[in-house]
């Protein structure tokens, strides 16, 4: 056995430097990343193929099987309307992932525009924009999202917009920090020396060097968006019932925790597992592709 492991170990080591071999060995070098990736893919698969994967219709109510504990007929039990919890969790993955991804993209787009404007404009424009962002950041994103929901009203689309808007602040801040770091780099001066117009320098040199770290941020913050949107549902001001949303399901089970704990626990577990998987995934991507963490530049 020792001989086998010795033969295996040199393979990832030289590939770990740079070159085309680096990506293939990623899964061997980062076992947790691989598990998290598989878990996330399982959620995505469940969301995409929900009608084929789910054993029941998520909104089919059954008086015969109200609050049934987990068993052979209903693997994760049923809720107070007799709806199958596993099926609702599977369909709920659609809402969680779509809301999470769309709202993060809104937040990232808004943050990119504001952060670029602040970082490039400088002077009082930057000062004013950043004071606004600072005051927004003083509030937790959930409070911000509640405020936007109060303005926009309820519904999946409103939740996406509200959560997206509430995430602009942190994105704007990191984008501005990256812009400030990039704009003093020598390659920017070299481009200026070549008399390349300012907008071309921004498009060709500033933007790519800002967008790549931003993409990493997006993967890390998807879990935050899912958490905030689930919290809105839990508070009863996000998506409306009978939508199979995890936050909503946890809220519905709240009154029965003493004698039917699976009603809240199962969607809560589904939510927690997804958030953990996404966090590990985001961290792995960041460590792998962020030149600052890789050492050198």
């Amino acid at each position: 056995m020792a001989a086998v492991t010795d033969m295996d170990s040199p393979t990832p080591a030289p590939a770990a430097a740079t070159g085309p071999g680096r990506r293939s060995s990623l899964f061997l070098r980062r076992p947790f990343f691989t598990i998290a990736l598989l878990a996330t893919l399982a959620y995505v698969g469940a969301a995409v193929f929900a009608p084929w994967v789910a054993p029941y219709d998520p909104v089919q109510q059954s008086i015969d099987a109200m609050m049934a504990p987990p068993g052979p007929a209903h693997w994760l039990g049923t809720d107070s309307y007799g709806q199958d919890i596993l099926s609702r969790i599977i369909y709920g993955a659609r809402y969680a992932l779509v809301i999470g991804l769309c709202s993060v993209l809104i937040g990232a787009a808004g943050g990119l525009v504001i952060g670029l404007a602040a970082g490039l404009a400088g002077g009082w424009v930057e000062w004013a924009l950043m004071r606004v962002i600072d005051s927004i950041l003083a509030l937790p994103s959930l409070i911000m999202a509640v405020a936007f929901i109060a303005i926009l009203g309820q519904g999946v689309d409103k939740v996406v917009i509200a959560v997206g808007l509430s995430m602009i602040g942190p994105f704007a801040r990191t984008v501005r920090a990256d812009v400030m770091q990039v704009r003093v780099q020598l390659y920017i001066e070299a481009a200026r020396l070549m008399s390349i117009p300012r907008w071309q320098v921004i498009a060709r040199h500033v933007l790519p060097n800002v967008v790549f770290p931003l993409a990493v941020q997006v993967t890390i913050r998807i879990s935050e968006a899912i958490l905030v949107s689930s919290s809105l549902s839990f508070l009863g001001i996000g998506v409306t019932p009978p939508t199979p949303d995890w936050g909503l399901m946890i809220a519905e089970g709240r009154g029965f925790v003493a004698f039917a704990p699976w009603m809240s626990a199962m969607p809560g577990l589904a939510l927690a597992l997804l958030l953990i998987a996404l966090s590990i995934l985001g961290d792995g991507i960041r460590e792998e592709y962020d030149p600052k963490l890789r050492g050198g530049s």
Binding site: T18, L193, M194
Partner: protein, 334 residues
């Protein structure tokens, strides 16, 4: 004012660069005053006179803090002189730079930090293609061929184009930076410490490359360095700077063989040689440019300082064949 192209304005006797009493003063807060808004002038360049002939190779030598970098920025049009005139083909450099891309195309720069001067998200090919495309050097279809040609000219294989600077060695990155500078087909190449921080054999290869390129392409080479050995190998002419001023210029061999300014002599002695042990360095430090002495600014460290040195600020004056020196009592007077 009709001729915009850099080449047409140049007559053979006309210098490419001409600096006439260039001053550059930075407004800084005096040391120790954190809360005050009062600023004082820091003269980084003070009465610099320099002529660079077309096709010449000039080494600009000086200690750190001597104003080399500021002079470089003035020559490239990144900083306007506070006083005096900085001319490129008899026209103010700032005006030339604002007039369009012709100046930027004709004067190319190789940075000391070659790695930092190339966008890390661009591969070598894209980095070299940028000036080719920007200045419209070749039609878009011929860009890959020209990239390979430029890489070959600096001694790199064509497949380097697909690599990123983070994966290249220090010497390779300098070569890439040189190839990128040559892409715009400049007539002037400005290199800031282009071989410092490399091991000796890599340095030698790069110096050979630069010398060959300068001769084959007829480039005007302005080489900023603190290394006299590099200066004498690469450049026919030398200009030695001290505290924001050029104290001696002339043919490199002549200046180094018999320096006329005591500061040049001290630099010459301080340069280590294989045979000789390192001699006594200069006593004292460079004085602060915020607090310049009244007479010659080198008087405080000069072993030959006489009484008048502390009162009279010496001008750059002719000193033998093609040489100029700013000293009241030059060594080896002709």
């Amino acid at each position: 004012m009709t001729d915009m192209a850099p080449g047409t304005a140049a007559r053979p006797e006309q210098p490419v660069f001409e600096l006439l009493d260039v001053e550059k003063v930075f407004q800084v807060r005096p040391p120790g005053s954190i809360f005050s808004r009062r600023t004082v002038g820091l003269p980084a360049l003070d009465g610099v006179r320099l002529k660079v002939r077309r096709g010449a190779s000039v080494a600009l030598v000086g200690e750190s803090g001597s104003g080399k970098s500021t002079l470089l920025r003035v020559l490239l049009g990144l900083d306007e002189p506070t006083n005096g005139r900085a001319l490129y083909n008899a026209r103010p450099i700032g005006e030339m730079r604002r007039a369009g891309p012709a100046f930027a195309r004709d004067v190319a720069m190789v940075y000391q930090d070659a790695r930092g001067s190339i966008d890390p998200r661009m591969n070598v090919g894209a980095a070299i293609a940028e000036p080719l495309r920007h200045f419209g050097i070749v039609p878009p279809g011929e860009i890959p061929g020209r990239i390979a040609e430029l890489l070959d000219r600096v001694g790199l294989s064509p497949d380097t184009a697909l690599r990123y600077v983070s994966g290249l060695s220090g010497g390779q990155v300098r070569r890439v930076a040189i190839a990128r500078a040559l892409a715009s087909e400049p007539s002037v190449l400005v290199a800031d410490e282009a071989v410092s921080g490399l091991d000796v054999s890599t340095q030698a290869q790069l110096l050979n490359l630069l010398r060959r390129l300068q001769r084959e392409m007829g480039l005007t080479l302005l080489f900023i360095t603190h290394d006299l050995g590099v200066a004498s190998y690469l450049c026919e002419e030398i200009a030695i700077m001290y505290l924001g001023r050029i104290v001696e210029t002339g043919p490199t061999d002549a200046v180094l063989a018999a320096p006329a300014h005591p500061y040049s002599a001290a630099l010459r002695k301080a340069a280590p040689e294989f045979s000789a042990p390192i001699t006594e360095p200069l006593p004292g430090e460079i004085p602060s440019p915020l607090n310049l002495p009244k007479g010659c600014r080198f008087a405080g460290r000069c072993p030959r300082a006489a009484a008048d040195c502390r009162d009279v600020d010496p001008e750059l004056r002719s000193h033998g064949a093609g040489r100029m020196v700013a000293c009241l009592h030059p060594l080896d007077a002709p």
